[in-house]
Symmetry: C2
Subunit: 378 residues, 2 copies
């Protein structure tokens, strides 16, 4: 299956293939050059496709927890010769991407927390008075590989390539949103062994959850209260207030503004919001996608430069999008980019107050974070 | 100030003194032996007592975040000669505890996240439509030192000493609950450099927050829904359901039962609940306090033995108590004890799904955790 120019002005092409165990792999080419058909087959003898675990309702918090007992033995910091994200160039070392070259590749994770439902696991019994019953952990966990070069760095990808990554984010959001059992699509990137990243090859992820996750549920609830009280849109009004006050704004683009949130909870944290009201990445127009590719890399560069003497900072970048079902009108796209590094060699740990009570303590001020993020502009 | 036998049958004594900068230090003696008056003065020339930072309302999540920019330069893994929790035996190395010996000592943290309000910091302006205004971070951060022996281990404390620790927890809970500006008292213990513990001398902490922290707010909200729907008490009914089902129960005492929660989110997690409905540690009777001291150490020993080959597991132990003000009747005391260690040398990291979305994924099952915690009983 191929489709060309799915993203309006995007000059690229998408080719979808199937891995040996039935999982999808998609190739996003920067340009629709004749001949790049990515026809190489997956020659591995893989066991059946991964099955879902289950989600259980935590009656003490009102949150769903995913129980994925089958993930204990997943791949952990493999050598480069066995990197599952590299292209397959040596048939003796087949990877998760069968072709010998690609620009951006997307495939369903082989050790997923959430997987498309085939046969549901038996739920253990529990009195119905104590919350909804367990459900299979239906969903999708995509791996989005940003480059075929194992040693590439996200901030140094050519603009054209970063634009293709944005296209992959947007298209996978659209695809998973169309699954009626998916409630929320989360596009994110983890970097750094400090936060447990097991594969150094540059990549991001997409999780499609069968429930509205806690932070999304909070955002919707806060937006509902704000709409009732003021008639306004919470995330639009926060953006307007930050732009008007200006104290914590770190970057003003034509289509996006980045600012440190007033109650930042991480030692380095910045949000990026579109000026136009859009629910998700799939709703961005071509000019917005192009600017986003540039601005995203600029923010990552600033996070890397935040602490003098640090070359690469560990970070988490997560795209908060509107839920796909009920309350969709209360959501509004924005990026939350943060790092746990509070000084060179010193991490912010989540101990008793944060992990036990959910009460965050920030050892710096949002205004100081904003000052530094402006200071290290390119 | 001295008071004897404050905890009903407890044979000990409490002596309160003042540090050079005005912070309180309390000595909890195992027994009220004549002569132990802890009169040694604090000879240091300390700057003025620490002032509070501020708490800001995160309008995106509805949670309060503590902004404590003054904490950046706190003590980090000092050598034993400079351990601030050791007794002061060498006048050239005065610690936070002036006396040359003690059983259990409690003092207000010198680098606190929350401090008693003296002068409030100026709040930065913000449109009132976007949430409540900033507030000073009024509160209390106690350090509870379990032994004068720097190298002691909590699990090996004599029963009498552990009973004194429980007494200190209960009495500090009562003291802070009487502060009208305190909304929630949290007694907890962090262990392990893996979770950022900066002092190895055995100790715990007490935080008294000026707001109801997120997890407490969730518990209250879930208990309210459960009461409306069933007329019952959520935490009592969860305990009864776990005891009846039995599958995840790991320990049954006369006054307490320990079980792995049905939706456990950590690789090792166990809850301990009293059989009697009590709001907090201060409400426990003497027989309950005595059993608690024994059962707490037993649970910690099992967490240490959980992974073969691991000598000391990092853990967080947090006491969830009823809020001190509104909704107090919806709270019920319980301990949440968990470890981030998912295998020897492998930590559970909180990356995109957990830190970005609040969506926990557990790579094991609660039933497997319970099996192992039963297997390693003393």
């Amino acid at each position: 299956m191929q489709s060309e120019g799915a993203g309006q002005g995007w000059p690229g092409r998408v080719t979808e293939r199937t891995l040996a165990d039935g999982r999808p792999v998609l190739y996003f080419d920067d340009r629709a050059t004749p001949g790049e058909v990515h026809a190489a087959p997956d020659t591995r003898a893989l066991p059946e496709a991964p099955h879902a675990g289950e989600v259980r309702f935590d009656v003490l918090t009102g949150e769903w927890v995913t129980i994925a007992g089958h993930r204990m033995n997943r791949t952990f910091l493999p050598s480069q010769a066995d990197c599952p994200l590299c292209p397959t160039r040596d048939p003796a070392h087949p990877s998760e991407v069968p072709d010998s070259d690609y620009d951006v590749a997307v495939f369903a994770n082989r050790f997923p927390s959430l997987a498309p439902l085939t046969v549901g696991p038996a739920a253990e019994g529990r009195p119905a008075t104590l919350g909804p019953p367990d459900r299979p952990a239906h969903g999708h966990c995509d791996v989005v590989v940003f480059s075929s070069d194992h040693a590439a760095s996200v901030v140094e990808l050519p603009a054209e390539r970063m634009r293709t990554v944005v296209e992959a984010w947007a298209q996978r959001t659209a695809t998973h949103s169309a699954d009626p059992r998916v409630a929320q699509v989360f596009v994110f990137e983890n970097r750094g062994q400090e936060i447990g990243v097991t594969l150094t090859h540059p990549h991001g992820q997409v999780y499609a959850y069968p429930f509205v996750p806690p932070r999304s549920a909070q955002l919707v609830e806060q937006a509902r209260k704000h709409r009732r009280a003021t008639g306004g849109d919470l995330l639009r009004d926060v953006l307007a207030a930050e732009r008007a006050e200006g104290r914590r704004v770190v970057l003003r683009g034509e289509h996006f503004t980045a600012y440190v949130p007033r109650a930042a909870r991480w030692p380095v944290e910045v949000h990026l919001a579109p000026h136009r009201d859009v629910p998700d990445l799939a709703a961005l127009g071509d000019a917005e996608r192009a600017e986003l590719a540039v601005v995203y890399q600029e923010l990552l560069r600033r996070v890397d430069r935040f602490h003098p003497g640090v070359e690469q900072a560990p970070y988490i970048a997560g795209w908060h999008q509107a839920p796909t079902g009920p309350d969709r009108e209360l959501g509004r796209l924005h990026l939350q980019l943060f790092s746990l590094l509070r000084a060179p060699g010193k991490l912010k740990y989540l101990a008793g107050s944060e992990s036990g009570m959910g009460a965050w303590i920030n050892d710096t001020t949002p205004e100081r974070i904003a000052d530094r993020l402006r200071e290290v502009a390119s």
